[in-house]
Amino acid sequence: MRKFVLHTLLFGFLAMVFVELTCAVLLYTDVYLFNYPGYVIHDAIKKSKTKSNKKILLLGDSVGHQLFPNKDDNDSIYSLACNQAISLAGQYVLLHNYINTGAKFEKLVLFITPFSFRNNLDQMYTYHYFLKPFDNDENRYLFTNSVKEQIAKIPYHRWHSMPHIAATTWAPDYISKDTSTFTFLSPISIEYLHKIRELSKLYNFSIKIVSPPISISKREAIDSIYQNEIRNANLENEFANYFNLIAYRDSALFSDGTHFNTPEQIRVRF
């Protein structure tokens, strides 16, 4: 028995060291990205640190990314669209990075579906899509207290930068038990929309919030959104006509009710 326990402990120790070291190498060389579902976010972060002279900066969720992939080049639009799971806090970090490159742009388009504004960093994807890419020394000063509080609720939130977690797809099974008091705008979304407004005044660009086309099957859910939340949050200007301009499309065009089957066939203009 003693031999078995000793060998198991020794193997466990060796396994820990081996896995940590190999994962660290994968992280350092970026090889981990080919097996990493959040690579779209990684691409967006990398691109946000590169200057361009495009007139429109686009931030968005995964539908936004389908229609304006951040890998593609566009004559007038610089897309950093990636995923709703990064929340408005993550979008703000991307914007902040881009401004820090010294880039001048005229218009910021937030190309986001109505349901994405509900993100309050309390989702099962928060660990993987927000904590791992954004929660680091470089960005932490941009986090509000609400963000810090939400992060603190997630199990193993301090461990996400360890190589065997950062380089792999592991994330805790976390589903927030908080009951939300909002139907459209989460507290974190409100805070960061205000912060984005401040930046727009400081750096002189306009903000346009636009929804990607939405399946007709979601119309009822969208109609039930309590739009007074916009007024209560003092964001009427930013959301002027947001709901009125939503283009509803045949549900056959969508693979899961949200994402398009063939996004390349969808045309959107700002």
Binding site: M1, F4, F18, P37
Partner: protein, 482 residues
């Protein structure tokens, strides 16, 4: 509590340590502790259903004792049927109530009669199909006087709820597992190391193969109308590996865990995808269930001893019942019938027991004939898995029709091709390792023959690394729903 969870990673060493410390006391205390650990393990899913296991245990324990005292044939039959009705009654209610109700209503509606029935929102107790069959085998064996009934309630209850195989098998026979609860277990280093090795291989199959394949299988099956024939075929292949990795992985972890506690469970999978015909496949896939149906259904029905029609009927019955055991859906029934259709020609031509030995027993590679046989059997299995995985029969039909189109020869479409390709490569890795280890009880059993300890440990470390790096999105074990 999933085997691939942090909870289990804490639970297992704690239970292991206390269990072997209790060896100094006596066997009864050790069994009692195992029972408590098993109940805790089960309660971590849903404590309310513990009452079902306890009730089922008490009924079968009581019936066993009563059968021993009873000599009259009629009374013995009454006792046997009491156990069967109680066990199958629970199973029928929790698993099949809504299915039968819906089908009765549909049948009456078809004939122009409107009847009303209230569907119930029933939660299926995890593992009910497994422990029900395990306890049934006990009562039937006691009835047939193949087994002495247990007089020790604690040992019997520990046998029924033995946590490594409680929720998804292997379905152990009382004749194999129950006596082990009455023997003093002695810790053996080699046995424990072998258990750990089998657990490692099981975790690899579950976390790396099954969970990664599940991502694509789910995507393609859930949106099958959108995809080309080639993508649909790949989706079916992904599911073929998912279900194997998932279920055989669970069995490996269960058998390995049991070995840590000094128990020996029966092999449940014997490299089924290397089978040369469907009969061989069914001797190698979910062995504990196939042999259960053979011994408690096929043989009592007359097996192959009657005329041809009776034999065909018996084969159809066990395959259809086996399909139905998997779930209350017509897809499972048709899946069972399809396998019967594959099997019957072999039976009629008396070719069903030709391939008993391990394929290419004396050579490293199969010959051309064997390769063709393995490929054909594999493709038939893939076709059957499509029916098994489909939401309903219409979906299965449209999926298969979707494959049989010109687009079968187009390039498959995936959202993340590099990851999909790496998942396929991992499946190839699995096949290669299992081929090399096909003469053992599980894929990497033969690693122990490597004399250099450093090399052996390096191989284990590589597996651990692959488990960490390639872990897919955590999925429940498929067979929990059965």
């Amino acid at each position: 509590m999933l085997f691939n969870s942090i909870d289990f990673a804490i639970f297992l060493p704690v239970v292991f340590a206390i269990y072997w410390l209790m060896q100094r006391l006596n066997l009864k205390w050790q069994n009692f502790f195992l029972l408590l650990a098993s109940y805790y393990f089960y309660a971590s899913w849903d404590w309310r259903f513990l009452s079902l296991i306890i009730f089922s245990t008490l009924v079968d324990f009581g019936v066993g004792l009563a059968l021993q005292k009873e000599d009259q044939r009629t009374n013995r039959r009454v006792l046997l049927w009491t156990s069967i009705l109680v066990n199958l009654g629970f199973l029928g209610f929790f698993k099949y109530y809504n299915f039968f109700l819906d089908n009765f209503i549909s049948a009456f509606t078809f004939f122009g009669q409107e009847i009303k029935g209230q569907s119930l929102n029933i939660i299926l107790p995890v593992g009910i199909s497994f422990y029900t069959f395990q306890t049934l085998s006990y009562t039937i064996d006691v009835y047939k006087q193949k087994l002495e009934p247990s007089k020790d309630l604690i040992a019997f209850a520990a046998f029924v709820s033995f946590f490594p195989q409680l929720v998804a098998g292997p379905i152990e026979r009382a004749t194999n597992l129950l006596p082990q609860f009455f023997k003093r277990r002695i810790f053996q280093y080699d046995q424990a190391v072998d258990g750990m090795r089998q657990m490692l291989w099981g975790l690899f199959k579950k976390i790396v193969i099954a969970d990664n394949c599940a991502e694509y299988a789910n995507l393609i099956f859930n949106n099958s109308s959108e995809y080309s024939g080639s993508t649909l075929l790949l989706g079916a292949l992904f599911f073929t590996f998912q279900i194997y990795g998932d279920f055989s992985g669970y069995s490996d972890i269960a058998i390995g865990t049991a070995r840590l506690f000094g128990f020996k469970l029966k092999q449940n999978f014997a490299f089924p995808y290397f089978s040369r015909d469907i009969a061989e496949f069914w001797r190698r896939w979910h062995i504990s269930l196939s042999s259960w149906f053979r011994d408690y259904l096929y043989i009592p029905l007359g097996g192959s001893k009657g005329n041809t029609i009776v034999t065909i009927r018996n084969v159809l019955v066990i395959f259809v019942v086996s399909g139905f055991w998997h779930g209350a859906n017509w897809t499972f029934i048709v899946w069972g019938a399809l396998n019967a259709l594959y099997f019957i020609p072999l039976l009629l031509l008396q070719q069903n027991r030709v391939n008993k030995e391990v394929v290419a027993n004396d050579t490293k590679l199969p010959n051309l004939k064997e390769l063709i046989q393995i490929s054909c059997t594999f493709l038939l299995t893939v076709l059957a898995w499509i029916v098994f995985r489909a939401e309903n029969l219409e979906h299965a039909y449209s999926y298969i029709s979707g494959i049989a189109t010109k687009s079968l020869f187009s390039i498959p479409e995936f959202p993340n091709r590099i990851h999909a390709a790496s998942t396929l490569l991992l499946c190839v890795f699995l096949i290669v390792i299992e081929w090399i280890g096909r003469q053992g009880l599980y894929g990497i059993e033969n690693i122990q023959q490597i004399k250099t300890k450093c090399l052996r440990w390096l191989l284990y470390l590589v597996l651990v690394f692959l488990i960490f790096w390639f872990q897919g999105d955590k999925q429940e074990f498929i067979y929990f729903q059965f």
